[in-house]
């Protein structure tokens, strides 16, 4: 069984893919069949993931891969393959479990939607594509699945296609991520050209193994940065993060899937997967490409948490919190904390899915109201949602001890502290901790505390099919703590391919008190600012100009609209204009000259050649007429003329001789 799964790991994405196709083409409009197929597919994938996970436990850092030929062109073969290692196995577990919860939740959330079955087909496809990214042992296969993830997100963000905003958001997501993918694509081409293979692991011959890295030399930096472009797009990093908040137009379970288990996780995962390209030639764990990763991560994390302070849409706040957490993960990867980054990614998967589904439950209970100012006092009507949401907030804010998000954030802060280039990211990330606690407190107060708003009177708790997944995710986010603490850092050791040591003395380190203090500060300050908040945000009252900048996301959308997009549009119109008037102009000029020549030759024909010919014939005829008059038929005249001629000839002859 154990070795069987290692060589058949492809089944894990194949099962949800098959489920998706079955739903699309077989189950028809049967809702129960569709939901059952999707959920059974996910359960099977989860069971297989557990088997795969167990198979990696025997030997630390074990890595099994299976490569095969995709196609042969000329004399070259292009090989792809699947890999199972701790990184992949951990991701598989998280993706399948979180997806399963989201699928179950969707039954309740989407039940009355007329395209219910199609929704489940897309969800299954989304999960399959993401699972494919995780187990790909080839950068090309990863890219293939990566693009399919993009397609699935496009279909799901624009699921309510009759809404123009949803369609626009889907388009924006697809195009923005594709901009990053162009860089990624060039990186693949470069890497392929230099190393001759795109397999990650191939018994020492893979593109991220030592032999290939040595042959790359200095170009490794550029390749890494190009690949990072792809991650910037997918994982919503500055400056390509603008699609992610708009993606909130999709149904809430989709947001949960995009923000937790799939899509945005892909970018962070990609950097972790090809990490040797980034860290090649590192001195003290620092390379130019990693420094770029850190910088982008820091900018993203801080910018997003500031913007989150000034949003009123319950989902958009969460969206910006995702952007900021992804920035944090990138920082972690950049400073060398690969395991920490991945641990946070996985913990984040659970609690962010929890938060989004909680938000979905609130939206569902509030009859599709998303503005937090219209909520309030929901703690009484929606107790399960309230408690699970609170757990999610504790995780996100990084409260240590009982919440996995706290411990993983701790790991990241440790990693940033020891970075050799600068301590600035460390302090900025500490500031980020305060900001996170602050905006989550704000959201929490608006939604659950205070008095019930007029709109929230009608609110009701969601059905069990929706609350059970919340409880499951909340439980996961707490239970995960067992393997995350420094006392028994099993997860970190697992990812690093080591054996974990138990040492209770390591549990409490100075850092934990610092971050605890910062989180508490965030909560307390948040409470003081927001506990009496009404329709107008207190920050908006105190600092209207600043609030406006944050509310409008630093006007980045507007900036892009008026620069990049405007230029591209002008370029398109210019290209069209050139076609019509310059390139086609030459053609028409040629045609015109041809016509002119035609007119000229016609004129020449008529006035010169034709008229000349006419003249010639007329003259000939006239001459003939004149001559014919001489031919009178009288012999005397002829003989006379002949005689004169004879005399004339004789005279000439005599004169000449």
């Amino acid at each position: 069984m154990i070795s069987w799964i290692a060589s058949n790991v492809w089944l894990i994405p194949a099962v949800p893919l098959a489920a998706s196709l079955l739903i699309l083409f077989v189950s028809g409009a049967n809702r129960k069949a569709a939901a059952s197929l999707a959920i059974i597919g996910q359960i099977v994938a989860f069971a297989l993931s557990i088997a795969a996970f167990i198979s990696t436990l025997q030997t630390p850092g074990v890595r099994t891969f299976l490569n095969f030929t995709w196609f042969t062109f000329g004399e070259q073969t292009l090989r792809i393959g699947f890999v199972l290692d701790p990184l992949a196995a951990a991701m598989l577990m998280m993706i399948t479990l979180v997806s399963l919860c989201i699928f179950v939740f969707s039954i309740g959330y989407m039940w009355s939607d007329k395209n219910f079955t199609r929704f489940f087909a897309y969800l299954s496809f989304f999960s399959a594509a993401m699972l494919g990214v995780v187990i790909a042992n080839s950068l090309l296969l990863l890219f293939v699945c990566w693009e399919l993830v993009g397609l699935a997100s496009y279909l799901l963000i624009g699921f309510w296609i009759e809404r123009p905003r949803a369609a626009a958001a889907a388009k924006k997501a697809f195009i923005t991520t594709r901009i990053g993918d162009l860089g990624f694509f060039l990186g693949i081409l470069w890497l392929y050209g230099k190393s001759g293979t795109l397999l990650f692991y191939d018994g020492g011959k893979g593109c991220i193994e030592n032999a290939a890295l040595l042959s790359l030399g200095a170009s490794a930096t550029f390749i890494a940065l190009l690949i990072f472009c792809g991650a910037v797009g997918k994982s919503g990093q500055f400056p390509l993060h603008v699609w992610l908040p708009d993606a909130m137009e999709g149904p809430t379970p989709v947001s949960a899937l995009i923000h937790a288990a799939t899509m945005v996780a892909a970018g962070v995962f990609l950097v972790a997967r090809v990490y040797p390209l980034f860290s090649f030639g590192a001195v003290n764990g620092v390379t130019p490409s990693l420094t770029v990763v850190v910088s982008i991560g820091v900018i993203t994390a801080l910018m997003a948490s500031l913007i989150a302070l000034a949003q009123f849409d319950i989902k958009r706040i969460l969206a910006y919190s995702t952007v900021s957490q992804l920035g944090l993960m990138m920082v972690s990867l950049g400073v060398g904390g690969v395991a920490a980054g991945i641990m946070h990614l996985i913990a984040h998967g659970f609690f962010k899915a929890l938060l989004f589904l909680g938000a979905g439950s609130v939206i569902h209970g509030m009859h599709h109201e998303q503005d937090i100012r219209k909520m309030g006092g929901l703690r009484f009507v929606m107790p399960v949602t309230f408690i699970t949401y609170a757990i999610g907030i504790m995780n996100l804010s990084g409260v240590p001890f009982f919440f996995s998000g706290g411990w993983t954030k701790e790991e990241i802060l440790h990693a940033t502290e020891h970075w050799h280039v600068s301590h600035l990211p460390h302090y900025l990330m500490l500031a980020g901790v305060v900001l996170t606690a602050l905006y989550m407190t704000r959201q929490f107060i608006y939604i659950f505390l205070g008095n019930r708003h007029a709109a929230s009177v009608q609110a009701h708790e969601s059905p069990r099919v929706m609350t059970r997944p919340l409880i499951a995710l909340a439980a996961c986010s707490i239970l995960l703590v067992a393997v995350l603490t420094p006392a028994w850092p099993w997860f970190r050791s697992y990812l690093n391919g080591e054996r974990a040591q138990f040492d209770i003395a390591l549990l409490l380190q100075p850092m934990i008190f610092i971050s605890l203090a910062l989180v508490a500060a965030g909560f307390v300050v948040g409470w003081f600012i927001y506990h009496k908040a009404d329709e107008t945000d207190p920050l908006a009252r105190a600092q209207p100009a600043l609030f406006r900048i944050l509310e409008n996301k630093f006007f980045l959308d507007e900036l892009y609209d008026h620069t990049v997009i405007a230029i591209a549009r002008i370029a398109a119109r210019f290209a069209d204009w050139m076609d019509r008037y310059i390139w086609d102009g030459f053609v028409r000029l040629g045609g015109g000259l041809g016509q002119l020549l035609g007119i000229f030759t016609k004129g020449f024909d008529e006035n010169a050649i034709n008229a000349g010919a006419d003249e010639l014939t007329n003259r000939t005829r006239g001459f003939g007429r004149v001559m014919s008059a001489q031919h009178s038929g009288q012999i005397q005249t002829y003989l006379g003329v002949i005689a004169i001629g004879m005399v004339a000839l004789l005279l000439i002859y005599a004169w000449l001789t």
Partner: protein, 490 residues
């Protein structure tokens, strides 16, 4: 097996005769019957084609007009076979696309015969005969059955292409006077050491280049194409983009590249520049269009630009590793085949929309997803295939072309990938305004896909998936040819 190629060329002509004398409503059925015959012959050719052998197969050679070096010489290698299969696939597809009367069917069949001839002829005179023979049906189809502005568009199409052909003919006459042969294989072997010397080589090069660049078309000789495709009836547009546009690329591979290696190396960066301009400007222009047919037409130029990029990249530089050479060539051949299928399918879908709406402006539709989900869904597959989504057929060719060209012309390739972005923008825009939003009033009576339409669409779409996932079957056709040509160009 003897004379199989000749039979392949003759069968559509016979079909044209039969169609011409048949009852009007039986015309399309007869044409389809003859297409079953041609498809069978093509499959028999494929079945008996030795994929491991280099050189021409099924060669038929007989004396024709020896005094001018004209010979009846036909034969196929992997590239020819690929194009025969493509032709046999696209024509029945086009026959299904619209109602057509006797004349239309007959002219299509004549064109089909001419295309088989073009892709199999191995002597310039014979090739040129077929090449021109395909042009006139194209002209007639646009001129007689075309839409608005058909006279202008047909004339432009004919004159522009014909001008190129004349230039090409003159060049070849020049070559013949110096070298005394029209045989492609002999000319190619002479090309290695320099076919012609001095200024005359440049004249000959320019003539052939112009003829083929117009045909492909390559920027900036492309302006006839949007007009022609826009005015052409759906069935004609499908064969124009699906097969006819491949004649130019085929000509580059067979004639220009092997005959003038030195000239191409000298002009290398300029030619690459033209290919990149084709890719980028055509996709930008597509963005600025509002007529669906023109959009698809411009994207056709964009996609053929990738072929030209690959071909120029491998010939414009020296000492290219065999791996990259083979990648680019395989990519070009793959792209030829896949673009044929995908672009024809796109025109087919535009035809369906136009049939239902009577108009084909991008703003004449809206919210179709609510009314015709099947049409939207299947059409999206063709769109995603065209924008190069992995898993569908468009991706593999483009990936290999870029892989090959990146190795020698990294900066050109880096600019060219912008075409991928702009193509995506065009399709996103198309999907947004056609499928999404509230249902437009004048689309509210649209029927979804009819059974007869599904019968056409499903196999074509399955083919897109099959080629995207398991392309080996197509690579097998031309792998040996690729190796052989890569050595020729090296």
């Amino acid at each position: 097996m003897a004379h199989l190629i000749t039979i392949l060329i003759v069968v559509p002509l016979l079909g044209a005769l039969f169609v011409g004398s048949a009852r009007a409503n039986a015309a399309r059925g007869i044409a389809l019957f003859f297409n079953i015959l041609t498809a069978t012959i093509a499959l028999v050719l494929w079945r008996h084609f030795d994929t491991a052998a280099t050189g021409l197969q099924f060669v038929e050679r007989s004396v024709w007009i020896p005094s001018i070096g004209a010979e009846y010489l036909v034969g196929i290698d992997g590239l020819s076979l690929l194009l025969i299969l493509l032709t046999s696939l696209i024509f029945p597809f086009a026959l299904f696309a619209q109602r057509m009367d006797r004349g239309f069917c007959a002219i299509l069949l004549v064109m089909q015969s001419a295309l088989y001839g073009t892709f199999t002829a191995q002597n310039f005179i014979l090739w040129f005969l077929f090449y021109e023979m395909s042009l006139i049906p194209g002209f007639l189809l646009i001129k007689i059955w075309g839409g608005e502005n058909r006279d202008r568009a047909a004339t432009k199409f004919f004159l522009y292409t014909f001008l190129g052909s004349v230039a090409m003919l003159l060049s070849f006459l020049g070559i013949y006077f110096v070298r005394g042969t029209f045989d492609f294989a002999e000319l190619a072997s002479l090309g290695k050491t320099g076919l012609l010397h001095g200024n005359i080589a440049w004249f000959a090069f320019a003539g052939i280049f112009l003829g083929l660049a117009v045909k492909v078309p390559l920027f900036p000789f492309h302006t006839w194409l949007p007009d022609a495709y826009e005015s052409a009836p759906t069935g004609a547009a499908m064969v124009l983009t699906g097969v006819l546009s491949k004649m130019g690329v085929y000509g580059f591979v067979r004639l220009l590249l092997p005959l003038f290696p030195a000239e191409i190396k000298i002009l290398g960066p300029w030619l690459l520049g033209l290919a990149v301009c084709s890719i980028v400007f055509a996709s930008l222009s597509a963005w600025a269009q509002s007529d669906l047919k023109r959009m698809v037409a411009y994207l056709s130029i964009n996609h053929l630009g990738y072929c030209m990029l690959g071909l120029f990249a491998i010939t414009a530089t020296t000492a290219l590793p065999a791996a990259d050479m083979q990648a680019a060539l395989s990519g070009v051949f793959m792209q030829i085949f896949n673009h044929g299928i995908t672009a024809a399918a796109l025109f087919y879908y535009v035809g369906l929309l136009e049939e239902r709406r009577g108009l084909r402006g991008i703003d004449n539709f809206g919210g179709l997803m609510q009314r015709t989900p099947l049409l939207c869904g299947w059409m999206s597959v063709a769109m995603f295939s065209s924008l190069g989504l992995p898993g569908l057929n468009g991706f593999i060719g483009e990936f290999l072309i870029f892989k090959g060209s990146f190795a020698v012309a990294a900066s050109f390739t880096a600019v060219a990938v912008l075409g991928l972005l702009f193509a995506a923008i065009v399709f996103m825009r198309m999907m947004q305004s056609l499928f999404s939003g509230p249902l437009a009033e004048n689309c509210s009576e649209f029927p979804d896909l009819l059974r007869s339409e599904k019968l056409v669409i499903v196999p074509v779409t399955l083919l897109m998936f099959a080629l995207g996932i398991a392309p080996q079957i197509v690579f097998n056709i031309f792998n040996t040819t690729v190796i052989h040509m890569a050595r020729l160009f090296a």
